[in-house]
């Protein structure tokens, strides 16, 4: 068994009186996997991914990357380790080209800092094709504003993927997307997994989580209350389990099948 890529042990985080996370044990396997993170509002999903991204420091607990303990985890360190967060609409500069967005902050430059535009456009085109982007109208020199919501998300995901993210974190990637577009996103994510990137994605839509995840992790009031492998259950059962959780009838430690 390969070492886990990411492991959070006994991580807790409070904001004032609010306990956002309580002694959470979370991990991402060594082989690329897709993990759906679901739970009600305030369950702690955002806090969890922000800790993984290095934005928040846990009050207690440890973070391990590839088995090695990480001290003073930060945004810079997380990026260096290959963790990329993709926020919904905020991720892209609308008026800029696809290529410029992909290479934002990491421009391909030659001497004296001049950008190798042609190379960037070519690389961006290649990347978008790899991830499954098949628009006949738009190429990498089109402005992002011309793309549909799903296509924009695709660009953001492609960016994370291109820079060899070991772990992509997607925060509500399919909210405000049509069914077809959501499917496109799932295809992007699956392609990214094939390319070696794991993915955590937060969603409220249990059916979406069920559709694309290898593993579903359910958070409730700061604790992980359930872990499910979609192979061993049905979407409807998952929904029922979520409702039970919402009504407070299920507590820590329930495990439906092996992960």
């Amino acid at each position: 068994m390969k070492t886990k890529f990411l492991e959070l042990k006994n991580v807790s985080k409070s904001f004032g009186k609010v306990n956002a996370l309580e002694r959470v044990n979370f991990y991402i396997k060594g082989e690329p996997e897709i993990v759906g993170l679901i739970g009600d509002n305030g369950a702690g999903k955002s806090t969890l991914i922000k800790i993984i991204a290095g934005i928040h420091t846990p009050d207690c607990g440890e973070i391990y990357i590839n088995g090695k303990r990480m001290e003073n985890w930060s945004v810079v360190k997380s990026r260096v380790s290959g963790v990329e967060t993709v926020y919904q609409d905020r991720a892209l500069a609308m008026q800029q080209t696809i290529a410029r967005n992909i290479f934002m902050g990491r421009e391909l430059t030659g001497i004296f800092g001049f950008v190798k535009s042609k190379l960037q456009f070519a690389e961006a085109d290649r990347l978008m094709r790899t991830i499954g982007f098949t628009s006949k109208v738009f190429a990498s020199d089109s402005a992002v504003v011309n793309l549909s919501g799903g296509e924009r998300q695709g660009v953001a995901i492609a960016r994370a993927f291109y820079f060899k993210a070991n772990l992509m974190i997607l925060d509500e990637p399919t909210t405000a997307l049509s069914l077809t577009e959501a499917q496109k996103i799932f295809d992007f994510i699956r392609q990214a997994k094939k390319g070696g990137s794991s993915c955590i994605f937060i969603t409220h839509n249990i059916y979406h989580a069920y559709d694309v995840s290898d593993r579903c992790v359910v958070l409730d009031r700061g604790k992980i209350v359930m872990e499910t492998n979609p192979e061993h259950t049905t979407a409807e059962q998952l929904v029922k389990d979520m409702q039970k959780i919402a009504h407070g009838k299920v507590r820590e430690g329930i495990n439906n099948g092996r992960s």
Partner: protein, 327 residues
């Protein structure tokens, strides 16, 4: 054969797509020139007319090109007029100390860059809006100049005819050197804005600040550099202005503010950031320059000059609005 034709058409349409704003500005300029030519062909075909225009045009071009960087990054600078004054003052102070005029130019550039740097620091470190802080800086600098000079100007007529003078203001084969400086500055600006990492990052910062920060772009540094660039441009203009007028006066640079902003906006760089066109600003500056000198020649009272500035500005803005949506 047909394939080749299609390739050319796609290339042209791609070019138009990419440069729409500058092309619209060019259209406005062309229409305006045609109208002027019809109204008064003798004047507008006379090279002397353009000589007059070129005297001040280079200053508009240089400042408008530099302002694109600041505006595209999502900020604004209303203090560049006073920086022109400060840089000019630095130049004459150096001359009065008996030092070489070239050293004076160097000090002027440093002064301009320094004020730009301070502007950038105030906006990024203190987090004050650039609109207000550059208004304040403008007053501060202008006040300093008046205090220091006690309102008195410094003639530099003795510089006329010197190699130094000719290097900046002379003419080569009848073509004014200050326009060559402007051309050089435009080339530099285009390289920096369209082909360099600096310009790419400026556009990203002006387009989506948070995203740029998340992607590791040093937003503060980028913005500060943009203001420094405007400071340097102001210094160059100060040298040109002082030499052209053969005098430095404390109000030097006053009155450039709205004209240069107009040139930038006519040229198609929008005030909301993320987009910029150097060529558009150059064309906008030309429009302003031509109106400046052309109105009277076209038979209209010079009193109406500003009316036409306003009319052109609004018409150009409407054209740009019809062109593209704001996202």
């Amino acid at each position: 054969m047909a394939g080749h034709r299609i390739h050319v058409i796609t290339s042209i349409s791609r070019f138009i797509e990419k440069n729409r704003r500058a092309l619209i500005a060019l259209l406005v300029l062309s229409v305006m020139m045609i109208i002027f030519l019809i109204l008064n062909p003798q004047v507008f075909l006379n090279p002397l007319m353009y000589k007059a225009i070129f005297k001040t045009l280079s200053m508009f071009i240089i400042l408008a090109s530099a302002m694109v960087f600041v505006i595209a990054s999502g900020e604004i600078d209303l203090s560049f007029g006073s920086i022109v004054g400060l840089a000019g003052w630095t130049l004459v102070l150096t001359l009065e100390s008996g030092l070489s005029p070239y050293l004076g130019v160097l000090f002027a550039l440093i002064a301009g860059a320094f004020v730009g740097f301070i502007n950038g620091i105030i906006i990024t470190r203190l987090g004050i809006s650039s609109l207000v802080s550059t208004i304040g800086m403008s007053f501060l600098i202008r006040g300093l100049i008046y205090i220091g000079t006690k309102g008195a100007g410094t003639p530099v007529v003795y510089l006329v005819g010197t190699p130094f003078y000719n290097a900046f203001i002379g003419s080569i084969w009848g073509f004014p050197v200050n326009m060559l400086w402007a051309l050089g500055f435009v080339v530099l600006s285009v390289l920096l804005f369209d082909h360099h990492k600096f310009g790419a990052q400026i556009s990203c910062v002006g387009d989506n600040l948070e995203s740029s920060q998340e992607m590791g772009i040093n937003v503060a540094t980028i913005k500060i550099l943009a203001f420094v660039y405007v400071g340097i441009a102001s210094a160059i203009v100060a040298v040109q202005s002082t030499l052209t007028n053969q005098i430095f006066y404390p109000g030097s640079g006053d009155g450039l503010l709205l004209i240069v902003l107009a040139a930038v906006f006519i040229g198609g760089t929008p005030s909301w950031g993320g987009i910029g066109t150097i060529m558009g600003s150059v064309i906008g500056a030309c429009i302003i320059g031509v109106i400046n000198s052309g109105i009277v020649a076209a038979g209209v009272s010079y009193l109406f000059k500003e009316f036409f500035y306003g009319l052109i500005i609004i018409l150009a803005l409407i054209s740009h609005k019809l062109n593209g949506k704001r996202c």
